[in-house]
Protein backbone atom coordinates (compact mmCIF):
# COMPACT_ATOMS: atom_id res chain seq x y z
CA UNK A 1 0.00 0.00 0.00
CA UNK A 2 1.39 3.32 -1.00
CA UNK A 3 1.98 5.94 1.58
CA UNK A 4 -0.56 8.71 1.20
CA UNK A 5 -1.92 11.64 3.07
CA UNK A 6 -4.63 10.64 5.46
CA UNK A 7 -7.17 13.28 6.30
CA UNK A 8 -7.97 13.27 9.97
CA UNK A 9 -11.29 14.87 10.86
CA UNK A 10 -10.87 17.79 13.20
CA UNK A 11 -13.11 17.85 16.26
CA UNK A 12 -16.22 19.67 15.11
CA UNK A 13 -18.34 22.06 17.07
CA UNK A 14 -20.85 20.12 19.12
CA UNK A 15 -24.53 20.79 18.62
CA UNK A 16 -26.72 21.98 21.49
CA UNK A 17 -28.14 18.53 22.08
CA UNK A 18 -24.71 17.03 22.25
CA UNK A 19 -23.49 19.55 24.77
CA UNK A 20 -26.26 18.39 27.08
CA UNK A 21 -24.58 14.97 26.96
CA UNK A 22 -27.70 13.21 28.24
CA UNK A 23 -28.61 11.64 24.95
CA UNK A 24 -25.00 10.81 24.18
CA UNK A 25 -24.58 9.09 27.52
CA UNK A 26 -27.70 7.04 26.82
CA UNK A 27 -26.30 6.06 23.45
CA UNK A 28 -23.06 5.09 25.11
CA UNK A 29 -24.95 2.94 27.56
CA UNK A 30 -26.69 1.38 24.58
CA UNK A 31 -23.39 0.50 22.98
CA UNK A 32 -22.00 -1.17 26.07
CA UNK A 33 -25.23 -3.03 26.72
CA UNK A 34 -25.20 -4.18 23.12
CA UNK A 35 -21.77 -5.70 23.63
CA UNK A 36 -22.84 -7.31 26.86
CA UNK A 37 -25.94 -8.91 25.39
CA UNK A 38 -24.10 -10.10 22.32
CA UNK A 39 -21.31 -11.63 24.37
CA UNK A 40 -23.64 -13.28 26.87
CA UNK A 41 -25.63 -15.00 24.15
CA UNK A 42 -22.82 -15.71 21.69
CA UNK A 43 -19.93 -16.66 23.87
CA UNK A 44 -18.12 -18.40 21.03
CA UNK A 45 -17.47 -15.02 19.43
CA UNK A 46 -15.35 -13.77 22.34
CA UNK A 47 -11.78 -13.48 21.16
CA UNK A 48 -10.23 -14.61 24.44
CA UNK A 49 -8.18 -17.80 24.14
CA UNK A 50 -8.39 -19.73 27.37
CA UNK A 51 -4.67 -20.27 27.51
CA UNK A 52 -3.59 -23.40 29.28
CA UNK A 53 -6.37 -25.51 27.75
CA UNK A 54 -6.46 -23.82 24.36
CA UNK A 55 -3.32 -22.69 22.63
CA UNK A 56 -2.94 -20.27 19.81
CA UNK A 57 -1.76 -21.99 16.67
CA UNK A 58 1.57 -20.43 15.85
CA UNK A 59 2.29 -19.50 12.25
CA UNK A 60 4.93 -21.70 10.66
CA UNK A 61 7.61 -19.01 10.77
CA UNK A 62 7.02 -18.15 14.40
CA UNK A 63 10.33 -17.94 16.28
CA UNK A 64 9.88 -19.83 19.50
CA UNK A 65 12.19 -21.57 21.89
CA UNK A 66 15.34 -22.98 20.35
CA UNK A 67 16.13 -26.61 19.89
CA UNK A 68 19.33 -28.30 18.82
CA UNK A 69 19.15 -30.89 16.07
CA UNK A 70 20.73 -34.32 16.15
CA UNK A 71 22.51 -36.30 13.49
CA UNK A 72 20.95 -39.63 12.46
CA UNK A 73 23.25 -41.32 14.99
CA UNK A 74 21.93 -39.16 17.79
CA UNK A 75 24.92 -36.90 18.33
CA UNK A 76 24.31 -33.16 18.17
CA UNK A 77 24.67 -31.61 14.74
CA UNK A 78 26.31 -28.61 16.29
CA UNK A 79 30.05 -28.39 15.67
CA UNK A 80 30.64 -25.48 18.04
CA UNK A 81 31.61 -23.05 15.30
CA UNK A 82 30.40 -20.08 17.42
CA UNK A 83 28.62 -18.54 14.44
CA UNK A 84 25.39 -18.26 16.43
CA UNK A 85 27.20 -16.81 19.43
CA UNK A 86 28.87 -14.31 17.10
CA UNK A 87 25.63 -13.32 15.42
CA UNK A 88 23.67 -13.09 18.67
CA UNK A 89 22.93 -9.44 19.43
CA UNK A 90 21.94 -10.25 23.01
CA UNK A 91 25.08 -12.30 23.73
CA UNK A 92 22.94 -15.04 25.23
CA UNK A 93 24.70 -18.08 23.78
CA UNK A 94 27.64 -19.60 25.63
CA UNK A 95 29.56 -22.34 23.87
CA UNK A 96 32.54 -24.35 25.02
CA UNK A 97 34.03 -26.48 22.29
CA UNK A 98 35.74 -29.79 22.78
CA UNK A 99 37.60 -32.42 20.82
CA UNK A 100 35.18 -35.09 19.69
CA UNK A 101 36.26 -38.72 20.05
CA UNK A 102 35.01 -39.21 16.49
CA UNK A 103 37.68 -37.81 14.15
CA UNK A 104 35.06 -37.37 11.43
CA UNK A 105 33.24 -34.92 13.71
CA UNK A 106 36.39 -33.41 15.22
CA UNK A 107 34.75 -30.54 17.13
CA UNK A 108 31.62 -30.66 19.25
CA UNK A 109 30.01 -28.48 21.92
CA UNK A 110 30.87 -29.53 25.47
CA UNK A 111 28.61 -26.77 26.68
CA UNK A 112 25.92 -24.97 24.76
CA UNK A 113 23.87 -22.70 26.98
CA UNK A 114 21.20 -20.26 25.89
CA UNK A 115 20.14 -17.71 28.46
CA UNK A 116 16.47 -17.42 27.64
CA UNK A 117 16.19 -14.35 29.81
CA UNK A 118 18.61 -12.51 27.56
CA UNK A 119 17.44 -13.95 24.25
CA UNK A 120 15.47 -11.51 22.11
CA UNK A 121 14.22 -14.23 19.73
CA UNK A 122 15.59 -12.46 16.68
CA UNK A 123 16.52 -15.68 14.91
CA UNK A 124 19.99 -14.51 13.88
CA UNK A 125 21.48 -17.67 15.39
CA UNK A 126 19.32 -19.83 13.13
CA UNK A 127 20.35 -17.85 10.09
CA UNK A 128 24.01 -17.95 11.06
CA UNK A 129 24.13 -21.69 11.65
CA UNK A 130 26.06 -23.42 8.85
CA UNK A 131 24.99 -26.88 9.96
CA UNK A 132 21.22 -26.39 10.49
CA UNK A 133 21.92 -27.41 14.06
CA UNK A 134 19.80 -24.81 15.79
CA UNK A 135 16.17 -24.13 15.03
CA UNK A 136 13.46 -22.04 16.61
CA UNK A 137 10.51 -24.05 15.37
CA UNK A 138 9.24 -25.50 18.65
CA UNK A 139 6.26 -23.15 18.63
CA UNK A 140 6.84 -22.46 22.30
CA UNK A 141 7.65 -19.25 24.00
CA UNK A 142 9.57 -19.13 27.23
CA UNK A 143 7.60 -20.72 30.05
CA UNK A 144 7.80 -19.13 33.50
CA UNK A 145 10.22 -20.48 36.06
CA UNK A 146 10.94 -19.79 39.67
CA UNK A 147 14.67 -19.15 39.36
CA UNK A 148 16.87 -17.47 36.79
CA UNK A 149 19.11 -20.50 36.62
CA UNK A 150 16.30 -22.64 35.27
CA UNK A 151 15.98 -20.32 32.30
CA UNK A 152 19.53 -20.96 31.19
CA UNK A 153 18.90 -23.86 28.86
CA UNK A 154 21.74 -26.35 28.62
CA UNK A 155 22.66 -28.49 25.67
CA UNK A 156 20.75 -31.48 27.03
CA UNK A 157 17.55 -29.47 27.40
CA UNK A 158 17.96 -27.99 23.94
CA UNK A 159 18.53 -31.41 22.39
CA UNK A 160 15.41 -32.79 24.08
CA UNK A 161 13.02 -30.23 22.67
Amino acid sequence: MAIGVKKVARPRQMSGGETLYLLEILRGLGVTMGHLVRNVFRQENIATIEYPEVRRVMPPRFRGLHRLMRRPDGTPRCVACYCCATACPAVCITIVAGESPDPAVEKYPVRFDIDMLRCVFCGHCVEACPCDAIRMDTGWFTPPEHTREKLIYTIDMLLEK
Binding site: L22, I25, G28, L29, V31, T32, M33, H35, L36, N39, V40, Q43, I46, A47, T48, E50
Partner: protein
Protein backbone atom coordinates in the same frame (compact mmCIF):
# COMPACT_ATOMS: atom_id res chain seq x y z
CA UNK B 1 -43.56 -7.68 77.14
CA UNK B 2 -43.86 -4.86 74.73
CA UNK B 3 -40.26 -3.79 75.44
CA UNK B 4 -38.98 -7.27 74.66
CA UNK B 5 -40.99 -7.37 71.46
CA UNK B 6 -39.54 -4.04 70.36
CA UNK B 7 -36.06 -5.24 71.16
CA UNK B 8 -36.44 -8.45 69.19
CA UNK B 9 -37.95 -6.60 66.27
CA UNK B 10 -35.16 -4.05 66.31
CA UNK B 11 -32.42 -6.67 66.49
CA UNK B 12 -33.97 -8.73 63.73
CA UNK B 13 -34.41 -5.68 61.55
CA UNK B 14 -30.79 -4.62 62.05
CA UNK B 15 -29.51 -8.13 61.42
CA UNK B 16 -31.57 -8.59 58.27
CA UNK B 17 -30.62 -5.21 56.86
CA UNK B 18 -26.95 -5.75 57.60
CA UNK B 19 -26.96 -9.22 56.10
CA UNK B 20 -28.86 -7.99 53.07
CA UNK B 21 -26.48 -5.09 52.44
CA UNK B 22 -23.28 -7.03 52.99
CA UNK B 23 -24.39 -10.06 51.02
CA UNK B 24 -25.06 -7.80 48.08
CA UNK B 25 -21.37 -6.81 48.02
CA UNK B 26 -19.90 -10.04 46.61
CA UNK B 27 -22.77 -10.29 44.15
CA UNK B 28 -22.09 -6.78 42.93
CA UNK B 29 -18.37 -7.48 42.73
CA UNK B 30 -19.13 -10.48 40.62
CA UNK B 31 -21.57 -8.52 38.46
CA UNK B 32 -19.01 -5.77 38.06
CA UNK B 33 -16.24 -8.13 36.94
CA UNK B 34 -18.36 -10.31 34.74
CA UNK B 35 -20.31 -7.40 33.30
CA UNK B 36 -17.16 -5.47 32.59
CA UNK B 37 -15.72 -8.51 30.86
CA UNK B 38 -18.71 -8.99 28.58
CA UNK B 39 -18.96 -5.29 27.84
CA UNK B 40 -15.30 -5.38 26.82
CA UNK B 41 -15.63 -8.61 24.82
CA UNK B 42 -13.76 -10.65 27.39
CA UNK B 43 -14.77 -13.70 29.36
CA UNK B 44 -14.19 -12.48 32.89
CA UNK B 45 -13.64 -14.63 35.95
CA UNK B 46 -14.30 -18.29 35.26
CA UNK B 47 -11.51 -20.21 36.97
CA UNK B 48 -12.32 -20.57 40.67
CA UNK B 49 -13.93 -23.93 41.22
CA UNK B 50 -15.72 -25.66 44.03
CA UNK B 51 -16.51 -29.30 43.37
CA UNK B 52 -15.89 -28.69 39.70
CA UNK B 53 -18.48 -25.91 39.55
CA UNK B 54 -17.51 -22.45 38.43
CA UNK B 55 -21.01 -20.87 38.38
CA UNK B 56 -19.77 -18.29 35.93
CA UNK B 57 -17.06 -17.10 38.26
CA UNK B 58 -19.29 -16.55 41.26
CA UNK B 59 -16.64 -18.01 43.56
CA UNK B 60 -14.07 -15.40 42.66
CA UNK B 61 -15.29 -12.76 45.14
CA UNK B 62 -15.18 -15.48 47.77
CA UNK B 63 -11.64 -16.43 46.82
CA UNK B 64 -10.67 -12.75 46.79
CA UNK B 65 -12.10 -12.22 50.24
CA UNK B 66 -10.27 -15.26 51.58
CA UNK B 67 -7.05 -14.11 50.00
CA UNK B 68 -7.36 -10.64 51.46
CA UNK B 69 -8.25 -12.06 54.83
CA UNK B 70 -5.12 -14.14 54.99
CA UNK B 71 -2.70 -11.57 53.70
CA UNK B 72 -0.26 -9.88 56.02
CA UNK B 73 -1.89 -7.04 57.92
CA UNK B 74 0.74 -4.37 57.72
CA UNK B 75 1.06 -0.72 58.59
CA UNK B 76 3.55 1.35 56.58
CA UNK B 77 6.45 2.82 58.52
CA UNK B 78 5.59 6.48 58.11
CA UNK B 79 1.85 6.11 58.58
CA UNK B 80 -0.10 7.58 61.48
CA UNK B 81 -0.94 4.32 63.19
CA UNK B 82 -4.24 5.27 64.79
CA UNK B 83 -5.80 7.17 61.88
CA UNK B 84 -4.42 4.69 59.40
CA UNK B 85 -6.35 1.92 61.12
CA UNK B 86 -9.44 4.03 61.74
CA UNK B 87 -9.87 5.16 58.17
CA UNK B 88 -11.39 1.92 56.78
CA UNK B 89 -13.95 1.89 59.60
CA UNK B 90 -14.85 5.49 58.89
CA UNK B 91 -15.40 4.54 55.30
CA UNK B 92 -17.61 1.51 55.92
CA UNK B 93 -19.68 2.49 58.97
CA UNK B 94 -21.51 5.55 57.55
CA UNK B 95 -22.36 3.62 54.41
CA UNK B 96 -23.99 0.88 56.45
CA UNK B 97 -25.68 3.33 58.77
CA UNK B 98 -27.38 5.24 55.97
CA UNK B 99 -29.35 2.18 55.03
CA UNK B 100 -31.12 2.26 58.40
CA UNK B 101 -33.80 4.73 57.31
CA UNK B 102 -34.61 3.14 53.96
CA UNK B 103 -37.99 1.39 54.00
CA UNK B 104 -37.93 -1.87 52.11
CA UNK B 105 -41.67 -2.42 52.31
CA UNK B 106 -44.92 -1.12 53.75
CA UNK B 107 -45.48 -1.48 57.47
CA UNK B 108 -46.73 -4.95 58.36
CA UNK B 109 -48.82 -6.09 61.26
CA UNK B 110 -47.15 -8.74 63.40
CA UNK B 111 -48.91 -10.02 66.52
CA UNK B 112 -51.32 -7.13 66.42
CA UNK B 113 -48.64 -4.47 66.25
CA UNK B 114 -47.58 -2.44 63.29
CA UNK B 115 -43.95 -2.99 62.37
CA UNK B 116 -42.16 -0.75 59.88
CA UNK B 117 -39.91 -2.62 57.44
CA UNK B 118 -36.99 -0.32 58.07
CA UNK B 119 -34.52 -0.15 60.89
CA UNK B 120 -35.52 3.31 62.03
CA UNK B 121 -38.42 5.34 60.74
CA UNK B 122 -37.00 8.72 61.61
CA UNK B 123 -39.02 11.83 61.18
CA UNK B 124 -35.87 13.53 59.88
CA UNK B 125 -34.90 10.68 57.54
CA UNK B 126 -33.44 12.74 54.75
CA UNK B 127 -31.51 14.96 57.12
CA UNK B 128 -30.15 11.85 58.77
CA UNK B 129 -29.00 10.55 55.43
CA UNK B 130 -27.15 13.75 54.64
CA UNK B 131 -25.64 13.89 58.10
CA UNK B 132 -24.34 10.34 58.01
CA UNK B 133 -23.22 10.22 54.39
CA UNK B 134 -21.37 13.47 54.96
CA UNK B 135 -19.18 11.53 57.38
CA UNK B 136 -18.10 9.10 54.68
CA UNK B 137 -15.62 11.58 53.32
CA UNK B 138 -13.64 11.31 56.54
CA UNK B 139 -12.70 7.73 55.75
CA UNK B 140 -11.17 8.76 52.47
CA UNK B 141 -9.44 11.88 53.75
CA UNK B 142 -8.10 10.12 56.82
CA UNK B 143 -6.76 7.28 54.71
CA UNK B 144 -5.10 9.73 52.36
CA UNK B 145 -3.53 11.74 55.11
CA UNK B 146 -2.60 8.96 57.52
CA UNK B 147 -0.79 6.94 54.84
CA UNK B 148 1.92 9.59 54.75
CA UNK B 149 2.50 9.03 51.07
CA UNK B 150 2.05 11.29 48.08
CA UNK B 151 -0.58 9.47 46.03
CA UNK B 152 -2.93 8.79 48.91
CA UNK B 153 -2.66 12.42 49.94
CA UNK B 154 -3.56 13.55 46.42
CA UNK B 155 -6.47 11.13 46.41
CA UNK B 156 -7.65 12.40 49.79
CA UNK B 157 -7.46 16.02 48.67
CA UNK B 158 -9.37 15.28 45.52
CA UNK B 159 -12.09 13.48 47.40
CA UNK B 160 -12.51 16.20 49.98
CA UNK B 161 -12.95 18.86 47.31
CA UNK B 162 -15.19 16.64 45.25
CA UNK B 163 -17.43 15.39 48.02
CA UNK B 164 -17.95 18.79 49.54
CA UNK B 165 -18.79 20.25 46.15
CA UNK B 166 -21.32 17.61 45.28
CA UNK B 167 -22.86 17.40 48.72
CA UNK B 168 -24.29 20.88 48.10
CA UNK B 169 -26.03 19.82 44.93
CA UNK B 170 -27.06 16.53 46.50
CA UNK B 171 -28.86 18.36 49.26
CA UNK B 172 -30.40 21.00 47.05
CA UNK B 173 -31.61 18.51 44.47
CA UNK B 174 -33.88 16.87 47.03
CA UNK B 175 -35.39 20.08 48.35
CA UNK B 176 -37.83 20.12 45.45
CA UNK B 177 -38.90 16.60 46.27
CA UNK B 178 -39.41 17.46 49.89
CA UNK B 179 -41.47 20.45 48.83
CA UNK B 180 -43.69 18.25 46.70
CA UNK B 181 -44.17 15.48 49.24
CA UNK B 182 -44.11 17.81 52.27
CA UNK B 183 -42.09 15.43 54.39
CA UNK B 184 -38.55 14.44 55.17
CA UNK B 185 -39.68 11.13 56.60
CA UNK B 186 -38.82 8.46 54.08
CA UNK B 187 -41.76 6.20 54.86
CA UNK B 188 -44.14 9.09 54.17
CA UNK B 189 -42.34 9.99 50.96
CA UNK B 190 -42.70 6.42 49.75
CA UNK B 191 -46.32 6.25 50.79
CA UNK B 192 -47.07 9.50 48.93
CA UNK B 193 -45.63 7.99 45.77
CA UNK B 194 -48.35 5.34 45.77
CA UNK B 195 -50.96 7.78 44.51
CA UNK B 196 -51.56 8.54 40.86
CA UNK B 197 -50.98 11.77 38.98
CA UNK B 198 -53.92 12.77 36.78
CA UNK B 199 -55.23 9.28 37.42
CA UNK B 200 -52.70 7.59 35.17
CA UNK B 201 -49.08 8.22 36.05
CA UNK B 202 -47.74 6.98 39.36
CA UNK B 203 -46.74 9.94 41.42
CA UNK B 204 -43.09 8.89 41.56
CA UNK B 205 -40.40 11.38 42.34
CA UNK B 206 -38.92 10.98 38.91
CA UNK B 207 -42.14 12.18 37.30
CA UNK B 208 -42.73 15.16 39.56
CA UNK B 209 -39.05 16.06 39.81
CA UNK B 210 -37.31 14.87 36.59
CA UNK B 211 -34.54 17.45 36.85
CA UNK B 212 -34.18 16.79 40.54
CA UNK B 213 -33.73 13.10 39.74
CA UNK B 214 -30.97 13.78 37.23
CA UNK B 215 -29.14 16.09 39.61
CA UNK B 216 -29.50 13.61 42.46
CA UNK B 217 -28.25 10.74 40.29
CA UNK B 218 -25.14 12.61 39.24
CA UNK B 219 -24.46 13.82 42.76
CA UNK B 220 -24.87 10.32 44.19
CA UNK B 221 -22.33 8.98 41.70
CA UNK B 222 -19.93 11.67 42.76
CA UNK B 223 -20.54 10.97 46.45
CA UNK B 224 -19.97 7.24 45.94
CA UNK B 225 -16.68 7.95 44.14
CA UNK B 226 -17.78 5.89 41.21
CA UNK B 227 -16.75 6.42 37.60
CA UNK B 228 -16.93 8.94 36.05
CA UNK B 229 -16.18 10.59 39.39
CA UNK B 230 -13.60 8.13 40.76
CA UNK B 231 -10.88 10.73 40.98
CA UNK B 232 -9.89 9.94 44.56
CA UNK B 233 -8.88 6.51 43.30
CA UNK B 234 -7.73 7.49 39.82
CA UNK B 235 -5.60 4.38 39.22
CA UNK B 236 -4.18 5.64 35.96
CA UNK B 237 -2.95 8.86 37.54
CA UNK B 238 -2.30 8.36 41.24
CA UNK B 239 -1.76 4.60 41.48
CA UNK B 240 -4.76 3.77 43.68
CA UNK B 241 -5.41 7.10 45.30
CA UNK B 242 -6.38 7.12 48.93
CA UNK B 243 -5.99 3.37 49.46
CA UNK B 244 -2.58 3.02 47.76
CA UNK B 245 -0.91 2.11 51.04
CA UNK B 246 -3.64 -0.24 52.19
CA UNK B 247 -3.49 -3.99 51.89
CA UNK B 248 -5.07 -7.17 53.16
CA UNK B 249 -8.29 -6.80 55.12
CA UNK B 250 -8.08 -3.04 55.54
CA UNK B 251 -8.10 -2.72 51.79
CA UNK B 252 -11.03 -5.08 51.54
CA UNK B 253 -13.01 -2.89 53.94
CA UNK B 254 -12.50 0.08 51.63
CA UNK B 255 -13.54 -2.17 48.82
CA UNK B 256 -16.70 -3.22 50.67
CA UNK B 257 -17.44 0.39 51.57
CA UNK B 258 -17.44 1.32 47.91
CA UNK B 259 -20.00 -1.33 47.11
CA UNK B 260 -22.13 -0.59 50.16
CA UNK B 261 -22.15 3.02 48.99
CA UNK B 262 -23.48 1.77 45.70
CA UNK B 263 -26.18 -0.25 47.43
CA UNK B 264 -27.23 2.66 49.62
CA UNK B 265 -27.13 5.08 46.73
CA UNK B 266 -29.30 2.77 44.65
CA UNK B 267 -31.70 2.31 47.55
CA UNK B 268 -32.02 6.06 47.95
CA UNK B 269 -32.64 6.63 44.27
CA UNK B 270 -35.27 3.91 44.29
CA UNK B 271 -36.88 5.22 47.45
CA UNK B 272 -36.92 8.89 46.63
CA UNK B 273 -37.60 8.88 42.93
CA UNK B 274 -38.96 5.48 41.96
CA UNK B 275 -41.57 4.85 44.56
CA UNK B 276 -39.53 2.72 46.88
CA UNK B 277 -41.48 -0.48 47.44
CA UNK B 278 -44.48 0.83 45.49
CA UNK B 279 -45.62 -1.13 42.47
CA UNK B 280 -47.68 0.93 40.01
CA UNK B 281 -51.42 0.34 40.33
CA UNK B 282 -50.91 -2.15 43.13
CA UNK B 283 -53.04 -1.30 46.11
CA UNK B 284 -53.26 -3.28 49.34
CA UNK B 285 -56.05 -5.37 47.93
CA UNK B 286 -54.52 -6.07 44.53
CA UNK B 287 -54.05 -4.39 41.16
CA UNK B 288 -56.39 -1.53 40.41
CA UNK B 289 -55.85 -0.27 36.85
CA UNK B 290 -56.81 3.30 35.83
CA UNK B 291 -59.64 2.02 33.61
CA UNK B 292 -61.38 0.54 36.61
CA UNK B 293 -60.35 -3.08 36.05
CA UNK B 294 -59.08 -4.74 39.20
CA UNK B 295 -57.28 -7.96 40.13
CA UNK B 296 -57.61 -9.07 43.71
CA UNK B 297 -54.51 -10.48 45.33
CA UNK B 298 -53.97 -11.93 48.80
CA UNK B 299 -52.22 -9.63 51.30
CA UNK B 300 -48.93 -11.62 51.72
CA UNK B 301 -48.47 -11.79 47.95
CA UNK B 302 -48.88 -8.03 47.71
CA UNK B 303 -46.28 -7.60 50.42
CA UNK B 304 -43.86 -9.90 48.64
CA UNK B 305 -44.46 -8.10 45.36
CA UNK B 306 -43.74 -4.79 47.04
CA UNK B 307 -40.54 -5.98 48.74
CA UNK B 308 -39.53 -7.63 45.47
CA UNK B 309 -40.17 -4.39 43.62
CA UNK B 310 -37.90 -2.54 46.01
CA UNK B 311 -35.11 -5.10 45.65
CA UNK B 312 -35.55 -5.12 41.91
CA UNK B 313 -35.32 -1.33 41.68
CA UNK B 314 -32.30 -1.37 43.96
CA UNK B 315 -30.53 -3.98 41.86
CA UNK B 316 -31.31 -2.13 38.68
CA UNK B 317 -29.73 1.05 39.96
CA UNK B 318 -26.77 -0.87 41.34
CA UNK B 319 -26.34 -2.34 37.90
CA UNK B 320 -26.65 1.14 36.46
CA UNK B 321 -23.66 2.13 38.60
CA UNK B 322 -21.65 -0.70 37.04
CA UNK B 323 -23.00 -0.10 33.59
CA UNK B 324 -22.07 3.57 33.69
CA UNK B 325 -18.62 2.74 34.96
CA UNK B 326 -17.81 0.71 31.86
CA UNK B 327 -19.35 3.25 29.55
CA UNK B 328 -18.09 6.67 30.59
CA UNK B 329 -14.43 7.49 31.18
CA UNK B 330 -13.22 9.40 34.21
CA UNK B 331 -13.57 13.18 34.15
CA UNK B 332 -10.64 15.47 34.30
CA UNK B 333 -10.44 17.26 37.63
CA UNK B 334 -11.40 20.69 36.33
CA UNK B 335 -14.36 19.14 34.54
CA UNK B 336 -15.58 17.64 37.80
CA UNK B 337 -15.38 20.99 39.51
CA UNK B 338 -17.02 22.83 36.65
CA UNK B 339 -19.85 20.36 36.53
CA UNK B 340 -20.37 20.56 40.27
CA UNK B 341 -20.31 24.29 40.75
CA UNK B 342 -21.32 25.74 37.42
CA UNK B 343 -23.91 23.25 36.24
CA UNK B 344 -25.38 21.21 39.07
CA UNK B 345 -25.55 23.96 41.65
CA UNK B 346 -27.38 26.58 39.49
CA UNK B 347 -29.66 23.89 38.09
CA UNK B 348 -30.63 22.63 41.52
CA UNK B 349 -31.33 26.17 42.69
CA UNK B 350 -33.41 26.76 39.59
CA UNK B 351 -35.23 23.51 40.25
CA UNK B 352 -36.19 24.66 43.73
CA UNK B 353 -37.37 27.98 42.35
CA UNK B 354 -39.45 26.43 39.59
CA UNK B 355 -40.91 23.80 41.94
CA UNK B 356 -41.92 26.49 44.37
CA UNK B 357 -43.44 28.57 41.59
CA UNK B 358 -45.45 25.63 40.26
CA UNK B 359 -46.61 24.63 43.72
CA UNK B 360 -47.72 28.21 44.31
CA UNK B 361 -49.61 28.35 41.02
CA UNK B 362 -51.48 25.08 41.47
CA UNK B 363 -52.26 25.85 45.04
CA UNK B 364 -50.01 24.06 47.39
CA UNK B 365 -49.36 20.90 45.43
CA UNK B 366 -51.43 17.87 44.69
Amino acid sequence: MSGLFDLVVSVVRVAVMLAFTLSLVPILVWAERKGAAYIQDRRGPNRAKILGLTLGGLFHPLADALKLLFKEDFIPDGAHRLFYQMAPMFALAPALMTFAVVPVGPPVVIAGREVALQVADLNVGILYIFAISGLAVYGVILAGWASNSKYPLLGGLRSSAQMISYEVSLGLSIIGLVMVFRSVRLSEIVASQGTLLWGIVPKWGVFVQPLGFLLFLVAVYAEANRTPFDLPEGESEIVAGFHTEYGSFKFSIFFMAEYVHMVVGSALIATLFFGGWQVPYLADSGFVLPGGAALGLPGPLVLLLRIGAFVGKLLFFAWLFIWVRWTIPRFRYDQVMRLGWKVLLPLSLANIFVTGLVLLLIGGGA
